[in-house]
């Protein structure tokens, strides 16, 4: 009991040290606050937005006003409301696709790294093959087969970007395989799956978390790109990329329709990148206080 309590405190101080390092980097802190705000917006869009995303409260392309702070889109829908509901779509896609890719990558990488031999050769060739196809080409090929829509967008992106995690995981698991605590776990009769899941993966997770945070930004851009090309989230569902595509058609008369979603995408990606950069520095064990 006593020992457990001691370990618990040790653990917290490790986290606290990382948090202190993270906090010191101001831009990342601002980024974190921005992300939290986005999450709140995504969780309760109905409370915050003045209209729904699909009703037509005003005239086409109405410019910014008190009633419609961000104006209206090409067919008279309130831009602010569409941006708010679009936040939800962007975050759902970004977080779920990242989660799917991390899950696949960790499993494939851990399997390849732990077992080695022909399993490793086979999985490594598959990883190489996935990485040899340009990301957007692979995702579009998936969409061509799966069809477009919110769900397939998530699936296509998740199935396309897992290889980077698998590569990192494989290398880490390989180096952990020879550690004493793994040997100890095996000696007391722990099963292979338990050794991998409970002892090895948690110790190899830090770099994965950093890469995942940094890649959330690129997933948001990928989703927007897909929707922009008309292959992702389908209208009338609001998506930042889809709104950009719509704004492009009205670029001559109502430029605000294409300016606003782009600003939102850029700021969101910036926020995730700043947090990811700071996380990388904070979790780096070689960093001193």
């Amino acid at each position: 009991m006593h020992r457990l309590a001691g370990r618990e405190r040790e653990h917290r101080s490790e986290f606290r040290r990382a948090w202190n390092r993270f906090k010191r980097y101001r831009p990342a802190f601002v980024g974190l606050v921005f992300i939290i705000l986005l999450c709140v917006v995504a969780l309760i869009p109905g409370v915050l937005s003045p209209y729904t995303a699909t009703e037509y409260p005003t005239t086409s392309g109405a410019s910014l006003s008190l009633d419609h702070p961000l104006g209206a889109d090409g067919i008279g829908r309130d831009m602010l409301s569409r941006m708010i509901f679009g936040t939800r779509v962007a975050l759902i896609v970004a977080l779920t696709a990242t989660f799917i890719s991390v899950a696949i990558g960790v499993m494939v990488g851990a399997t390849a790294g732990y077992f080695g031999g022909w399993i490793d050769s086979l999985l490594s060739r598959i990883i190489d093959a996935v990485m040899a196809i340009p990301l957007l080409v692979l995702i579009i090929a998936f969409v061509a087969v799966l069809g477009s829509g919110l769900f397939t967008t998530v699936l296509a992106i998740g199935l396309a970007i897992w290889a980077q995690y698998a590569r990192v995981m494989r290398a880490d698991i390989m180096s952990l395989r020879e550690r004493d605590y793994v040997l100890a776990a095996r000696t007391i009769g722990a099963s292979t799956s338990r050794i991998i899941a409970r002892h090895m993966i948690p110790n190899a997770l830090a770099p994965i978390i950093v890469i995942a945070t940094l890649s959330v930004g690129s997933v948001i851009i990928l989703e927007a790109a897909l929707s922009f090309l008309g292959l992702g989230v389908q209208p009338p569902d609001p998506s930042w990329g889809g709104m950009l595509a719509e704004g492009r058609r009205h670029i001559r008369n109502y430029p605000h329709i294409s300016i606003i979603p782009g600003v939102a995408i850029t700021l969101t990606v910036l926020a995730f990148n700043l947090v990811g950069d700071a996380l990388r520095d904070a979790l780096d064990p070689h960093q001193t206080e």
Binding site: D128, P134, A144, S258, T266
Partner: protein, 308 residues
């Protein structure tokens, strides 16, 4: 060296084969076959449909279809498209390739031309206004989605100022905006890399020695620091090709450039699976070759690297 190249080539061939299996099975997982997509609503009898399937080899078992396809691909014959009769896929690709190749080469030249001097300057004058300024722009450059940047440039230079054409590359001025859009993210990334590489090299002993023997700091930087700082850049450029090809797809679409990206997207819109699978394989071959070339070139430039 030769052994290494041969081994890498064998590995590359294996990788491309895996890509071909993945692509082929993916395309045949999709609901309906190409014939149905081609025929659409036209009233054809089952016999006529069967005749069409036989003509395209779709009546054979799946593994046989794969073998037919891959053996033709290996010989450089990409086959025909059911959706666009009368034109081989080879012709389509050959017609589209030059625009994409030019776009990528121009982009590489522009981004290297800006990123290298900027990165060196920022690395040498660390923590100066120039350093902070250029790195701020570099961080932002990675975050701006290229399709939005394209629309904003079109708005400013194409519509308001009317300096450049808004689509097409019939004249040289048509290339300006697509290249700027594609080069922005690349420049940002390369500048950051060049900066950190320069900072690292400047702490090396040989730089101190060069300073100690009384060389001007310009000579130290150009002759000793930059040449070594360039090494990690060479290794990354090969890997950037894959990213640039992704960007090309969007940029070609926005600026109506008749390149490979546009061909690919239009094939997806038409559900032209034969073109899609041929192009995925083509992209993979290009990337695998570029990666091998980069690694070999890297070892060639940097004698400290031993290939085994």
């Amino acid at each position: 060296m030769l052994n290494y190249v041969i081994r890498r080539l064998m590995q590359g061939i294996l990788t491309v084969l895996v890509v071909s299996v993945i692509t082929f099975s993916l395309m045949h997982l999709s609901p309906g076959d190409p014939i149905e997509a081609f025929v659409g609503e036209r009233p054809l009898t089952t016999e006529q449909l069967d005749l069409l399937r036989e003509r395209w080899g779709l009546d054979q078992p799946l593994y046989q279809q794969y073998l037919n396809w891959i053996s033709r691909m290996v010989q450089g014959d990409f086959g025909d498209s059911i959706m666009r009769p009368g034109q081989t896929i080879n012709t389509m690709i050959w017609d589209a390739a030059p625009a994409t190749i030019y776009l990528n080469i121009y982009t590489l030249i522009v981004s290297l031309g800006i990123a290298l001097p900027l990165g060196v300057a920022a690395g040498v004058k660390r923590y100066s206004g120039l350093d902070y300024g250029s790195m701020f722009v570099a961080v932002l450059g990675v975050c701006i989605p290229n399709f939005w940047l394209a629309i904003m440039l079109l708005l400013l230079f194409g519509l308001y100022l009317d300096w450049v054409p808004t689509s097409g590359v019939d004249s040289w001025s048509g290339w300006i905006m697509p290249v700027i859009v594609l080069a922005t993210a690349e420049t940002a990334l390369l500048a950051r890399l060049m900066r950190s590489s320069t900072v690292e090299v400047l702490t090396e002993d040989y730089v101190r020695t060069a300073r100690a023997k009384g060389l001007t700091s310009f000579a130290v930087i150009v002759r000793h620091a930059v040449r070594n700082a360039l090494l990690p850049i060479t290794s990354i450029i090969g890997y950037r090709i894959a990213f640039m090809l992704s960007g090309t797809i969007i940029v070609e679409q926005i600026f109506a450039i008749p390149g490979l990206g546009r061909l690919f997207i239009s094939a997806v819109y038409r559900t032209d699976y034969q073109v899609v699978q041929a192009m995925v394989l083509l992209f993979a071959v290009v990337i695998v070759l570029v990666n091998i070339l980069t690694d070999v070139l890297y070892a060639f430039i940097d004698p400290r690297i031993r290939l085994e």
